[in-house]
Symmetry: D2
Subunit: 346 residues, 4 copies
């Protein structure tokens, strides 16, 4: 029975971790903390969890107390704060799965430039493993600290990685037009995310400036390639889910068959990544509620392009679910434990 702490458990990612772990019979949530809600009952903030977390109270985050209670902690704090707290936990012997951006970058300068902060735990960053499980499973297994990928990045890297590795698409000219549900913005009191301003609305935001751009580019710049791409996020009037429409130029005589083969090579044995036959494109409802990433594509012969559609639930495969998946790998549990395979679907 792995003992688990959740730090910053008041936000939607923390909520989702608690919800998923309630259905995981190999673990026990033994420590739940939130600075802003210390002393509050979880069920007061989230009545949806009341039947399972009825008596649990948020504690004020304290690394030593967490270490006494836990084998591993999920840290969901603001960037920089998360790395600092994570470093304390590591020094107390607790493994860390960090859901902020703090341990995602190889290039710490790029991180600091992107996030506008000084990284508080640079040496630790050097050993951190980027927790895109399907790509880095072996490293995750032995990691002390995992940087859990961002939601947009998961939905962007998974469909592009095999095609870049296999030289089927040009590393120049990639366009990612991504659309996310509102939980992506977090739990906040803000007129811009109020029901009346969001329902029946749709908008682009952070055009040319979204932070996930650099994370995506770094992780796709493999084998000496230097990927520079256009990433444009939009806000969908749905609660959950990211659908990314990706445009890339084919090269080296790439065809639908070769693309299928590349995906088969990388994901043929994966439980949580599915690639459909050419022309079958996933919809948001095929993944929301599950830990799956679903990928479809269509070749445009006229323009020699491929159009890829990739979907994840931003709170599950894009955050809490992938974190649990990494935890399962780190502790030698069945990788599927606690992770829904079927989407809500309707």
């Amino acid at each position: 029975m792995v003992k688990i702490g959740i730090i910053g458990a008041n936000g939607y990612t923390g909520f989702e971790l608690m919800r998923l772990l309630a259905n995981h019979d190999g673990v026990k949530v033994t420590y739940v903390a939130s600075r802003s809600n210390a002393g509050v009952k979880v069920a007061e903030l989230y009545p949806a969890l009341s039947a399972y977390y009825g008596d649990v109270e948020y504690k004020d985050p304290n690394a030593k107390e967490c270490a006494k209670a836990c084998d591993v902690a999920f840290t969901c704090l603001p960037h920089a704060a998360s790395a600092a707290f994570g470093a304390e936990l590591i020094s107390c012997g607790v493994k860390v799965i960090d859901l902020s951006a703090d341990f995602r970058y190889d290039d710490i300068d790029l991180y600091e430039k992107t996030y506008g902060v000084v990284h508080p735990a640079k040496e630790l960053n050097a050993e951190a493993v980027y927790g895109l499980t399907e790509i880095n499973r072996v490293k995750v297994k032995s990691a002390r600290i995992v940087g859990n990928p961002g939601c947009y990045t998961t939905s962007s890297i998974l469909p592009l990685y095999p095609l870049i590795k296999e030289n089927l698409i040009s590393e120049r000219g990639i366009i990612i037009d991504a659309k996310s549900g509102v939980t992506g913005a977090g739990r906040k009191a803000d007129v811009a995310y109020s029901y009346c301003e969001t329902d029946e609305n749709f908008k682009a935001y952070a055009v040319t400036t979204h932070r996930h751009t650099t994370e995506i580019e770094e992780k796709l710049s493999v084998d000496g390639k230097k990927v520079a791409l256009s990433f444009t996020p939009h806000l969908l009037p749905v609660k959950r889910g990211i659908l990314s429409t990706v445009y890339a130029d084919l090269q080296n005589g790439a065809t639908g068959e070769k693309i299928a083969a590349a995906y088969q090579k990388y994901y043929g044995n994966e439980t949580f990544v599915s690639v459909f036959p050419e022309g079958t494109l996933p919809e948001l409802k095929w993944v929301v509620g599950s830990n799956t990433c679903k990928i479809g594509y269509k070749v445009d012969k006229r323009l020699n392009k491929v159009i890829i559609v990739s979907c994840v639930d931003n709170l599950i495969k894009g955050a809490a679910g992938q974190a649990v998946q990494n935890m399962n790998v780190m502790f030698g549990l069945d990788e599927r434990k606690g992770l829904p395979l079927c989407a809500n679907g309707l």
Copy 2:
């Protein structure tokens, strides 16, 4: 050309007044004020209005300046503040249509008890007319000051008033189960009204304590009757609209035919109130976007009850539209000017 001021024009009611009046060719909006947004352009807060109100700036509310620019002002301030500002305007010779609760009550004690404030303009309240146009049209015509009805109250009084006047239902035991869109809560930064907490959700609120209860009871306590009813509001995951389901006990041999006759008597010639044949019950989309109140009913012979369904757009017939309707009456304009008859419908 009637010159119009809008005070407190930053909220949704103010927005809707601006939007409706942009299509009214007998008036000109000459003064738009908001304390919290003084100096801001209307189009910055509401880009939806940019093509019409491109250059207009919110002014800091000032009664004398308003009086110089306007024949009539719509006041949309918090209760008590609204009456105080309205009194200043009246003393400057500007007519006032107040959209707060301040001039709605005959019984000022009931107002003060309900809202927990001291009424700042009691003498003025004595001459104010309750602006439910279909009931009080003659008085509205000559009013200097109109207390514009609440949204829930409009949707509750219009269907019940004829049946109580004609003694077809008991004044005891009436239950109003009302459901409102989220604009009813106003424009605010509040997690409880955020998209993620409201979408796909539904809830009752202010059970047994909602302030509109006393306004409804006062206006229905006619001809010596003393109405005491149960009013329960709910929050619908839609932007606009109120649908009220009303349960009442029939008396005096009331039948579907007699109910139809009562409605015909009171609303047969009304443009903005429609009553459907027994068994045809209006839906929210039949009214949203229009200034209409639509009413349907069904007699339950087994239980000797009538079930009434009544719909309004809370921002139009329930607020801004009814205010414009009152303004048209006060200034001798065609009552329909600027007021949409057709709902958005889909």
Copy 3:
């Protein structure tokens, strides 16, 4: 490992059974049938299930084949057809949990009058157990055939049953104003349930005529009481969930404390029914995604009424979840298996 068949698995209830049972480690779904989709892959109709039911095909329903493959079958066919097929299954030795209305009524005349059909298996009906698990757990345990309750009825009976049994409310004058998500109408091609006609809309329907009225009245007419109540369903623009607002007249000196005691007596040890302290009223999002029924209430001393709010997920506790709960009881499994305790919550 209990072997399970699902008959009529093309509808939303069938979908939900498949989705829930994918997470239940004490059972195996061995037979999935649908007349209209025989030969089609489950994952084609419901791509959300593809990662688990990838290769499964709908069979044409056949009782003998089902019997070979299964210990128990969930029947989700239209009324009358469901009982007929269920009778065949029983005669082949398969236990049946029927999700139609066919085995819900004690009074077969009332069933036939309500549904306008002749019951095809009257003798079987006599031994069927009404599967409101919290009320009939002992009988369910030894049942061969269970009539699984309706969604509206579950959300209506659970909050009212204890108060009627304890004589705290009058059996006359009860009003249930119920609001359901659109999945309640099933999976169908119908303009009335199209997105454009349903989104941002709200309506009452089947006023005074909804079939669940007689089911609710029969089950609440206990201890010689004869309940006749007003039941009015509405269509909410959400996918899932029922919130019922119930109005009842207090009697025998009933107070908030006595109501709390009655609920404690009946549900104090129940996992899936929660009753909140007076004044805390559940919201739809507190239950959607879970198998829980959440109940809150508020006494209106002025009118000597109690207003109760009760919530269920119509597809889970109101259908598939409760069916799985009954199956767990029938087969001696942990009653909670496969049933989510935490709601989606946001």
Copy 4:
């Protein structure tokens, strides 16, 4: 008073025409026809229109009867059928604004290939004017027959036309990632557009094959350029509105300032097209309910691209509103008559 006919008035475009024209004081709707609903009252199909079109019945479409009653007809029939009926109307002396695709193409082979039909009125097509009012106003003024543009095409051509004309972007490599509300699919009974399958969902469709692609390419292939672009439509869970995100490669030293100047040159005096300063990107709610097209852009210097966001209400500027705008021009009325400038906004 221009007398107006609407043919095929049972669909959403017909609905919207009726709704808009109810607020237009220079016209009278004298003939409303629908084959599938002949004999039905408009208010029965669309209760939202009941207060204005209370007694109007759909007629069975007949060109001669229409000609007796009307000066101009809006034809909203399926492609090919629409041109055939339009030709009859023209021969009876009625002007025609056709809302199908039949009179939109210069290249009739491209039309026939795109729509898979033989054009039934080729000679008439030669004189038809493409009714993108801001581009073709002078020709519309004297037209007998106008081919009203498609919704996606309006939202695509308006932002791109000035930049192509002024040689600021390459005609190669343009990507249009478009997102439309569900009314774009029309009024239909289809599980794919049911509430339960559409709400909280999002998907791409018709990838590489959408018919509007050829219409957009033809209209943008000006001055000898040959535009071939990638157009990918998506289905948003909203009722109305299209937001198109457009990616283009800058050329000839194009900058934000030069782009602003190009837009100013083409739309500086337009009422219904607004272009915002660089970096201000319109949202769907800024246009829904109005006849406006709102355009914003951001230059990505790193990639030498421009990202443009363009919004229209698909039923208004994308269909019925633009048709009314063309009618106003054809009959010498104020171009703004009957056309809302302010969006619903929230």
